[in-house]
Each structure stands twice: as structure tokens, then as C-alpha cells.
């Protein structure tokens, strides 16, 4: 302790303290984020629908109404289709923890069977987009370059050209697409969750959607050729990096260079 109290007067003590604080903050920040995946079955039985109805009444009806007709707190779910349920519940967005600018991904609340039952119930209320088949998600059949073009025109303005996410108005945002499953990407496109527009098959065809997914999975798998990508946030993170790390190292060297050796 004595050594510590002496060294706290050292000119570098403030720098060390600052660095420590930054490291702790950064570490806490990084200890966050887990994405869950869920698989869904197709073809619903009457019992699925019945079980789904029970789950719905117990977990969803408060906001969406007893018959999914919607209320002041949540939209009607008639005609949103199984894909919407599979996306919203399968990514943990629903049930919502609290009302906010937008529903956010969080740990999934139901198991696969329950999600499937809920989807069965909601899809029985009215026709809507169904959960995509494996074939529509098969990235080995897709064309990454064509998908990239479609992605840049239709998606990059909100989700960022490297799919790192971006801001919308008043606290809403477009999330990062890293580690989102093929199925959920597809379902998001066909259902348009929250403020995301709908991209039906006449706008972006099923093949083009598969291309987009292929593109996303390819850039995710290949990694960044130039080294650490600094969040893929573009010039802001690059500028921040050169002003903190870059100039920091330079200043450390200048201090060493002009100091007197013992």
C-alpha cells in the first residue's frame, strides 16, 4: 500500500488510472450479446393450433387482444402469417419486455415446439407469409455478388453496407445482421418487422432473397481481409482509432524518446 500511495503522485498515475477505467468500461461493454436460433416445423395439426391458442392467450393476448385482433398496445396479428411469429418469437423480440421505440432481440422465451404452436395458431387466423423452406435458404445455390447488389440498393441504407446496423429516428435502429440465422433474415424480409418495410416476392424475388442471404453469410464467413474491422462503422471508428490508439502510441514513444535514462 505504501508503494501505491507513493506512486499515485507519479505523473503517469493519472494516465494509468484513465487507461484502467477505459479498459474496465470496454470490458463490461463487450460482455454482452448472445443470439439464439430456433428451428421451425412446417405443417400444423389441429392440436398445434389449439396449444398455440392457449400459449397466445397466456402470453400475448394482453397486448394483441384475446383473438389477436390488436389493441392500443399491440397490432392485430390477423394475416401476419407464421413467418412473422417465427421471427418475432424466435429471435426473442416477442413477448416484449416493455413498450419502447422498438422490440429488441433478447434470449428466446419459448422452445421450438411452442414457437411452432404459436405460429400455427396465428397462421390459422388469416393467410400470411409462411416459414421459408430449406431450399429457399440454401446458400450453396445463391449468388453472393448478385445478392450484394440487391443488398446495397434495398438494405444497406439502414443496415450498413457491411450489415453492421444503423440508426433510425427517435431511438429506433436497424440491427446488425451478423450471426442472424438465414431463416430469420428471410422472414424479416417477407414480413417487415417493426419499422422495416416488407420486401414481398414481387419486389425482391425469392431467388434474390436467397442471394442476399448468401451474400451476408459469405461476408460474415470470410472475415475482414485487411485486419480487425473496428466494428465496420466506417470513417468514424477509423478516426477515433487514430486519435486514441495511434496518437497514444506515438505520444508514449515521444515521452520515452525525450526522457533521460537512469
Amino acid at each position: 500500500m505504501k508503494a501505491l500511495s507513493q506512486r499515485r503522485r507519479h505523473p503517469l498515475a493519472a494516465v494509468a488510472l484513465l487507461l484502467m477505467g477505459l479498459l474496465i468500461t470496454g470490458g463490461l461493454y463487450m460482455a454482452a450479446g448472445s443470439v439464439n436460433e430456433a428451428k421451425a416445423a412446417t405443417g400444423y395439426s389441429a392440436s398445434d393450433i389449439q396449444e398455440g391458442n392457449k400459449l397466445f392467450v397466456a402470453n400475448c393476448a394482453t397486448c394483441h387482444g384475446m383473438n389477436a385482433e390488436g389493441s392500443a398496445d399491440g397490432p392485430s396479428l390477423i394475416g401476419v402469417g407464421a413467418a412473422a411469429v417465427d421471427f418475432q418469437v424466435g429471435t426473442g423480440r416477442m413477448p416484449m419486455q416493455m413498450q419502447g421505440p422498438q422490440a429488441q432481440a433478447k434470449p428466446v422465451q419459448f422452445d421450438d415446439a411452442q414457437i411452432s404452436q404459436l405460429a400455427a395458431y396465428v397462421s390459422s387466423l388469416g393467410a400470411g407469409p409462411s416459414i421459408p423452406s430449406e431450399d429457399m435458404l440454401d446458400t450453396s445455390q445463391g449468388n453472393a455478388a448478385a445478392g450484394g447488389t440487391v443488398f446495397r440498393v434495398n438494405c444497406a441504407m439502414c443496415h450498413n453496407a457491411a450489415a453492421a446496423g444503423g440508426a433510425l429516428t427517435r431511438g429506433k435502429f436497424a440491427p446488425s445482421l451478423a450471426e442472424v440465422s438465414e431463416k430469420h433474415i428471410y422472414e424479416a424480409m417477407v414480413t417487415g418487422p417493426q419499422n422495416m418495410p416488407v420486401f414481398n416476392d414481387s419486389n425482391v424475388t425469392a431467388e434474390e432473397k436467397r442471394d442476399v442471404i448468401t451474400f451476408l453469410k459469405e461476408i460474415e464467413a470470410q472475415g475482414s481481409p485487411g485486419g480487425a474491422k473496428l466494428g465496420s462503422l466506417g470513417p468514424v471508428s477509423e478516426g477515433l482509432f487514430i486519435w486514441t490508439a495511434g496518437l497514444g502510441i506515438i505520444i508514449a514513444f515521444t515521452i520515452w524518446l525525450t526522457s533521460r535514462p537512469s
Binding site: 439502414c158 429516428t169 417487415g192 416488407v198 414481387s202 419486389n203 470470410q222 485487411g226 524518446l257
Partner: protein, 349 residues
């Protein structure tokens, strides 16, 4: 300035002198005594420093060699992860090569070269004698030229020199390669490819869009039909790109003169921001807001794209649309106002 009657007694241009109040000032104790380094007194420390410097230079040599290894052994990588590895190894090789030399030299200078600080006197930047000599020379030059005595020569020379660079400015007129005259150049900013019965097609495929394809909540990125066939499509595309959305007609506040511009709630607006021209591509389907990702101008689709936030000063121009006999969406006409950022000649339409 030049008014020193009240100021300190010393002249301008000289260094600070002792004033009246300076009598009560601490004396400069001079440079602190020189402190010897370990390497100055201890031959072992000196030897150690020498070895450290040599070691650093050897690290540099190893760094350079590892650069070659990365360059030749990894060859021409095809795979992205190999490119990353090669880039990192080239970088680290260079880092060691350079830091080895740099740190080595500095360490050498710090530990083994003399570290006595030396004091050197500053010199006057402009000695008065020099100034007088220079003044004399200049006076002589001016006198021998006789420019002061011959105003005719002087004035015509000034005129000639003032005029001579002006052609150079005009040389730049043909930076504009369109060959149009000034009026036509500016006029082209008012028009886009859109015209009566030009079909709205998807960007980038160029396939036409049926009204029935556009469902509530969706957004189509649209280019005029035939754009992809142009020789230089980007110039026209930079003005003609359009966003196509369908709204519940009950939500729309349509002004009288625009009541025929939409088709059953399907509206088309210019995608080019009226602020500085970024694509206003972000459509929030629940709030019906359009947001520009560059400077966050926000437009309310239900109020004919009025600006509700951000730096844009004008609503996005609306493209009047209808459907043709095949059910495809077509433009009724060009935009009724110039698209994109404002410019001096724009005026109110």
C-alpha cells in the same frame, strides 16, 4: 502600435529587459547540475546498453526477413483469410524492421551518446546594419530602374500584367464537356428521364412494377424504364431514382393539385435529398417517415414528404404516377420541380 510613451522603457523588437518592478524578482539559478547516467559510470551498464542496441538492430534484420517470408511463402493468396494473414505478416515484418532500427538508434543516442545539454545564444534575426545595407541596395535598384520617374512604363506594365492571366481563367470554360451553352447547362438540372407513360421499374433489374405488387408497408427502389440501356446511366440515375410506397389512403393528407398524383395510395417520391443530394432511402413503414442516412433529414410521407426534422429545407418532389393499360405503374409526367439539392438558379419552380 508604436505608442510607447507610457509603456515599458525598452524598445520594440528586443528581448524583455529588466523593468522597474523586476528588481524584486528571483534570480535564475542557471542550468541544474548534470546528473550522470548509469552507463557513464558503470562499464557493465555501458556494455549492456551496447548489446541492447545491437540486439534491436538484429530484431530489425529478422523483421525484414520475415517480410520476405510473408511475401514469398504465402505467395499469391486466393482465400480471404490468407490475404488477411499475409497482410498482418507483412505489417508485422515491417513493424519489427522499422521499430528495431528506430528504437535501436534512439536507445543508442539516449544511453551512449553525450547527454550534456548545451546552451547556445540566439542571434538577432535582423541586425540593424544589415537592414540599412539592404535599404540602400533596394533604393539603388529602384533608382537605376527608374520606375518611379517613368510612370508611363510603370502603368502600362501594371495593365499588361493584370490582363495577362485572364485568358488562363477562360481556358477552364471547357471543363464542362457537355458542349452546351450556359443556359442549357443549368436548364438540364430541371429535367429528368421521367415523362408521360415512362414505366416505373425496379432498381437495379429494370423490370416493370404492377400496382398490385406494391403492398402496404413495402418500399420499391425505382428507376425509369430504359435507364439501364443508356450509355452513361449514372448521370440520369442521379436525378431519376424514386421511392415507391403504398399508404393507407385514409392516412394521407393530399393537397388539391396533387389529388391525382397517386394511384390508390401508391405514391412515388424522389429519392434524392433536397439537402445535399444523398439518397433518402430509409423508409420506416410504421411511422411513414423517410430518413436520409447522411444528415438525418426526416420527411413525413403522409404530409407529402414535408420536412419534419433535420437540415433539409424543402419537401421531396413527388412524381405523379398512374397505371397503364397493362396494369404497370407509369409516370404521368416529369417531376414538376427540380430534384435534389437547391442551387441559385432554381428559384420557386
Amino acid at each position: 502600435m508604436g505608442d510607447h510613451s507610457h509603456g515599458s522603457p525598452d524598445d520594440s523588437g528586443t528581448v524583455a529587459k529588466a523593468g522597474a518592478g523586476d528588481l524584486d524578482k528571483f534570480q535564475d539559478p542557471g542550468l541544474p547540475p548534470h546528473r550522470k547516467r548509469l552507463a557513464d559510470t558503470d562499464p557493465h551498464a555501458e556494455k549492456r546498453a551496447e548489446r541492447q542496441v545491437a540486439l534491436l538492430f538484429i530484431i530489425s534484420i529478422i523483421g525484414t526477413l520475415s517480410f520476405f517470408i510473408a511475401y514469398f511463402v504465402l505467395g499469391r493468396p486466393e482465400d480471404i483469410s490468407e490475404i488477411r494473414l499475409q497482410n498482418a505478416m507483412l505489417g508485422l515484418g515491417t513493424t519489427f524492421a522499422m521499430l528495431g532500427i528506430g528504437i535501436g538508434i534512439v536507445h543508442w543516442a539516449k544511453t551512449l551518446m553525450p547527454d550534456h545539454e548545451i546552451s547556445e545564444l540566439r542571434h538577432e534575426i535582423r541586425p540593424e546594419a544589415d537592414r540599412q545595407d539592404a535599404e540602400q541596395i533596394i533604393n539603388q535598384v529602384v533608382e537605376e530602374m527608374g520606375i518611379a520617374r517613368r510612370p508611363l512604363i510603370r502603368n502600362t506594365l501594371i495593365g499588361a500584367i493584370a490582363l495577362a492571366p485572364i485568358p488562363a481563367i477562360f481556358m477552364f470554360r471547357d471543363l464542362d464537356r457537355s458542349g452546351k451553352n450556359a443556359g442549357a447547362m443549368v436548364e438540364q438540372l430541371r429535367h429528368t428521364m421521367w415523362d408521360t407513360n415512362v414505366r416505373l421499374t425496379r432498381d437495379p433489374s429494370g423490370t416493370p412494377i404492377k400496382a398490385a405488387d406494391v403492398q402496404l408497408g413495402s418500399v420499391f427502389h425505382v428507376i425509369p424504364e430504359g435507364l439501364n440501356d443508356l450509355e452513361d446511366p449514372l448521370n440520369e440515375k442521379a436525378k431519376a431514382v424514386v421511392l415507391l410506397m403504398r399508404l393507407d389512403p385514409a392516412l394521407m393528407h393530399v393537397s388539391e393539385e396533387r389529388k391525382d398524383w397517386h394511384h390508390d395510395g401508391i405514391v412515388a417520391y424522389s429519392k434524392i435529398c433536397t439537402h445535399v443530394g444523398c439518397p433518402v432511402a430509409l423508409y420506416e413503414q410504421q411511422t411513414h417517415h423517410l430518413l436520409c442516412p447522411c444528415h438525418q433529414s426526416t420527411f413525413d410521407l403522409t404530409q407529402e414528404c414535408k420536412v419534419i426534422f433535420g437540415p433539409a429545407g424543402r419537401p421531396l418532389p413527388q412524381l405523379p404516377i398512374t397505371v397503364d393499360s397493362d396494369g404497370f405503374l407509369v409516370a404521368q409526367s416529369d417531376f414538376h420541380e427540380p430534384v435534389g439539392p437547391s442551387y441559385w438558379e432554381r428559384g420557386s419552380n
